[in-house]
């Protein structure tokens, strides 16, 4: 109302008066009092038809003035239709704050020592599932360490670990079914591990040998398995998010009891694809889970330089998406959250955003030395005091499902298996040259056939310049 009046005033000082009074007081009734106060001091506006002059003219009849003003006041409470629906008006100039006073609380079920928090809500897991979750977390940890060391020794060209994020990887996978299609970023090999990808298969991809399902065409950790519904890792950040929405759309069309699940980091939420995919998923009402691994770092960029919102969970509401923040290092909470979210997504045909708070204990990759931008002490603290494995281990031990003996048996077995897998993968032949040209199209067209011939001719004339371990 005041804004409407403001446009009719010709006097600037009066304008400021209104603004000052308005901003100082919050109630609507004060506005009406305010109008009665200033009008007597104003000269009537000459010859104009604006509402103020009408008010001035009716000053002599207070009842009419007050009834006029009250009529205007009543009008303010009506809602008006705009494209997009009804919206109530407010005469107060108030901006929505850029952040709430309190950050969105984080859902957790096990405390730092692995004790179940009283009155916590969680989805019950059987002993079998809990033991598998923990065993796979241990396997992932050992696999990561051994592959990382292999790269340092020069046996592998590249590797990226998921150390510190084992709970997110395994517990989220445990809450899904094999029909749910996964669109990973590159730090989620645990999901494949849960679904049955063997250590040998991981090693084959890392060495790019002829048993690699990717036929040696991608870098290490760019796994993919269509039979396990895990889509080949594409290195570009966040491009898998719209892909996941498309897969969810496909599942929705076929009315399948499954959802699409996609993972990304805190850095990935800055990409345009993140925002577009969330928007699309909400509009399409697509059953997709957006799981953000907020691990605090995007290579060397901390989250304070990545976004200024309260993390990622608050962004869901902007797109009309139900969201939750979870302690990513609490395997039981992760399991419960993903389990519940999945049911909601499929039953209600809607997307869900899950922000899993965690810490990237390892370097970004073997091409990175993170002690250059963060303290070794910080890394060590998260690795020891906030380790997801020890917390979950305490919980399963308290249920009598685990012991020191089973732990050491598991660790020595996995380590032996890993070393053997490495040895076999290293010795296995690489894919032959023909794989450079196949699968670009379904059938190689003439230009590719020609180019393959050229390459082979060059190799024939300069065999000493051609690597000896790639068969023709």
């Amino acid at each position: 109302m005041a804004l409407h009046l403001r446009s009719s005033f010709s006097s600037k000082s009066t304008l400021l008066n209104i603004l000052r009074h308005n901003l100082g007081f919050g109630s609507r009734s004060h506005v009406t009092r305010h109008i009665r106060q200033i009008l007597p001091h104003d000269p009537p506006l000459r010859g104009s038809q604006n509402p103020i002059s009408r008010l001035c003219n009716t000053m002599a009849e207070p009842e009419t003035l007050s009834s006029f003003v009250q009529h205007e006041y009543a009008n303010n409470h009506q809602v008006m239709d705009f494209p997009g629906g009804k919206v109530a008006f407010t005469p107060e100039i108030q901006f929505i704050s850029e952040s709430d006073k309190e950050r969105v609380p984080c859902y957790r079920v096990l405390d730092d020592n692995g004790q179940l928090i009283t009155n916590s809500q969680f989805v019950q897991v059987s002993e079998e599932v809990a033991v598998k979750i923990y065993s796979d977390m241990v396997t992932l940890q050992i696999m990561d360490n051994i592959f990382y060391e292999a790269q340092r020794q020069g046996r592998l060209s590249f590797y990226a670990t998921a150390i510190g994020e084992e709970a997110i990887n395994i517990a989220s996978a445990a809450a899904l079914t094999p029909q749910d299609v996964i669109f990973p970023q590159y730090r989620e090999p645990g999901v494949l591990l849960w679904r049955g990808f063997t250590l040998q298969e991981f090693a084959n991809q890392c060495f790019g040998n002829k048993s690699d399902y990717g036929k040696g065409r991608q870098m290490p950790v760019h796994y993919g398995s269509n039979k396990l519904n895990y889509f080949t890792v594409s290195a570009t950040i966040a491009t898998q998010l719209p892909n996941a929405v498309g897969a969810a759309y496909s599942l929705k069309m076929d009315k399948k009891d499954a959802c699409a699940v996609t993972y990304f980091g805190d850095g990935g939420t800055s990409e345009g694809d993140f925002h577009a995919a969330l928007n699309f998923a909400a509009v399409m009402e697509a059953p997709v889970l957006f799981i953000c691994r907020n691990n605090g770092w995007a290579i060397s960029t901390p989250t304070s330089d990545q976004f200024r919102s309260d993390g990622v969970v608050v962004k869901g509401r902007a797109y009309g998406i139900r969201s939750i923040r979870v302690d990513g290092n609490d395997a039981l909470a992760m399991y419960s959250a993903v389990h519940t979210a999945r049911e909601m997504a499929i039953r209600e045909q809607r997307p869900i955003l899950i922000e899993a708070l965690t810490y990237r204990v390892g370097h970004h990759s073997t091409s990175d030395d993170s002690t250059r931008y963060r303290s070794a002490g910080e890394i060590e603290w998260w690795n020891k005091a906030r380790n997801p494995l020890s917390r979950f281990r305490t919980w399963i031990e308290s249920n009598g499902w685990w012991s020191d003996k089973t732990e050491s048996d598991l660790r020595s077995r996995i380590k032996k298996e890993m070393l053997e897998a490495l040895r076999v993968a290293e010795k296995t032949e690489k894919p032959n040259l023909q794989n450079m040209f196949s699968d670009v199209y379904d059938v190689p067209p003439s230009n590719l056939r020609e180019q393959e011939l050229l390459v082979r001719q060059t190799i024939n004339s300069h065999p000493q310049d051609y690597p000896s371990d790639v068969p023709l």
Partner: protein
């Protein structure tokens, strides 16, 4: 010289205008088609050899009488008056829509996504009526984010659907370049063949009538380097429908380039089902003196120039290359070997366009057969001006084509 038309066993078909042969004008087969019951037609070429096609194409070639008009309004010529099947007449955008609808009827996995493709029917009405027939989910209106809905189409394709993604204008697909290059083109390869991406990405491009620089782009220049994709350009209602159907059926990602100014072209097309070969060029006008290679709208400028050239005594061979990636070097090569002179007429810019790549390919492969350097007429390296007169001069005009031919044939 005569061509022999053989029919496959058990196939009986009455001659349509498109089957009739004018043997005196036949030099090489032109249109290809696949009948729905896979009847095979084998055409012996004029030199007695049979052409063979790649494993991915099951189409056969048919002979066709010469069409003197640049824009075919009536396909009936004197030689085809023996027809018994008249076909039906429609505009190019309707032909695209017919092809799309037939494929959506045939395969429930085919779906459409893009901006305003649903009840609005698409900005150029190519998807008109489809949402009413197939529903809102199968003909999907998306929010405005080209990268996102292209990415969505790719994800849907990896899970078994066959999306047809429409860019409202090809220029907008620059926003989708990341998804097209990194995911569409690469994922079949990097996944080791585990995931296929049978998408069709289509939309209008090219210089229109005063649409402004941002809406007059030639995206085929930018996309031609991406490995893993195929590119085709349609130019007539006949090949528009045929290429649309072939693109949808292909297991590879295909980008189908339409032209803003060609949507209202009218032609009579066959009633029976047919598809066009994605990797094949189209012989528009056989000739002896010079090979003119062109595609999309420039085909019509070339045919207009051809009329003038014929009056001046030249006999140009006009080929609509249609397949922009890969090039049909077989058809092109045969033509070069016959005429020894090549003129490329394109709408792309001089630098880095389709013509530039084609010039390189011809020089590399057919250098010995050339009597003159390959000449390429393209648009200048400027953003397309809005002013009508300026816009007209960024596009190659028939007069320039005539001059170029005269120069090459000296």
């Amino acid at each position: 010289m005569s061509a022999i038309l053989l029919q496959g066993a058990g196939a009986a078909t009455s001659l349509s205008p498109f089957n009739s042969i004018d043997s005196s004008k036949l030099v090489a087969p032109s249109r290809s088609s696949l009948s729905v019951r896979s009847k095979r037609y084998i055409v012996a070429g004029s030199d007695g050899t049979n052409k063979s096609f790649g494993a991915s194409s099951l189409v056969a070639r048919r002979s066709e009488p010469l069409i003197p008009n640049a824009v075919a309004t009536k396909a009936d010529t004197a030689a085809s008056s023996t027809s018994s099947k008249p076909g039906h007449e429609l505009l190019l955008f309707e032909a695209l829509q017919e092809g799309l609808e037939e494929e959506m009827d045939r395969d429930p996995h085919v779906c459409v996504m893009g901006e305003d493709v649903g009840h609005y029917g698409g900005s150029y009405k190519v998807t008109k009526g489809l949402a009413d027939k197939f529903g809102d989910l199968r003909v999907l209106d998306t929010p405005i984010c080209e990268n996102a809905f292209t990415g969505m189409g790719i994800g849907a394709a990896m899970t078994g659907l066959r999306p047809v993604i429409e860019g409202m204008n090809m220029g907008f697909l620059l926003l989708a370049f990341n998804q097209i290059s990194n995911n569409c083109g690469m994922l079949h390869y990097t996944s080791g063949g585990q995931f296929t991406i049978p998408v069709v990405i289509r939309g209008p491009g090219g210089v229109g009538r005063q649409l402004g620089a941002e809406h007059s782009q030639r995206l085929e220049s930018y996309f031609q380097s991406i490995p893993g994709i195929q590119m085709v350009a349609c130019s007539t209602p006949y090949n528009a429908k045929g290429l649309m159907k072939a693109a949808i059926r292909s297991e590879n990602p295909v980008i189908l380039f339409e032209h803003v100014l060609l949507y209202n072209l009218k032609e009579t097309i066959p009633d029976e089902e047919y598809i066009c070969n994605l990797e094949e060029a189209e012989m528009v006008r056989p000739g002896e003196h010079i090979t003119i290679l062109t595609y999309s709208r420039m085909r019509y400028h070339v045919m207009q120039a051809a009329k003038t050239l014929v009056n001046k005594g030249y006999d140009p061979e006009v080929i609509d290359i249609r397949s922009l990636k890969p090039f049909d070097l077989y058809t092109i090569g045969n033509s070069v070997k016959k005429t020894h002179r090549v003129l490329i007429v394109e709408e792309c810019m001089r630098t880095g366009g389709i013509g530039a790549s084609l010039t390189a390919a011809i020089n590399e492969n057919f250098h010995d057969y050339l009597d003159a350097p390959v000449m390429c007429l393209s648009s200048q390296d400027v953003p397309t001006p809005y002013a009508g007169t300026l816009e007209e001069w960024t596009v190659v005009q028939p007069a320039q084509i005539v001059t170029a031919v005269e120069q090459l044939c000296q």
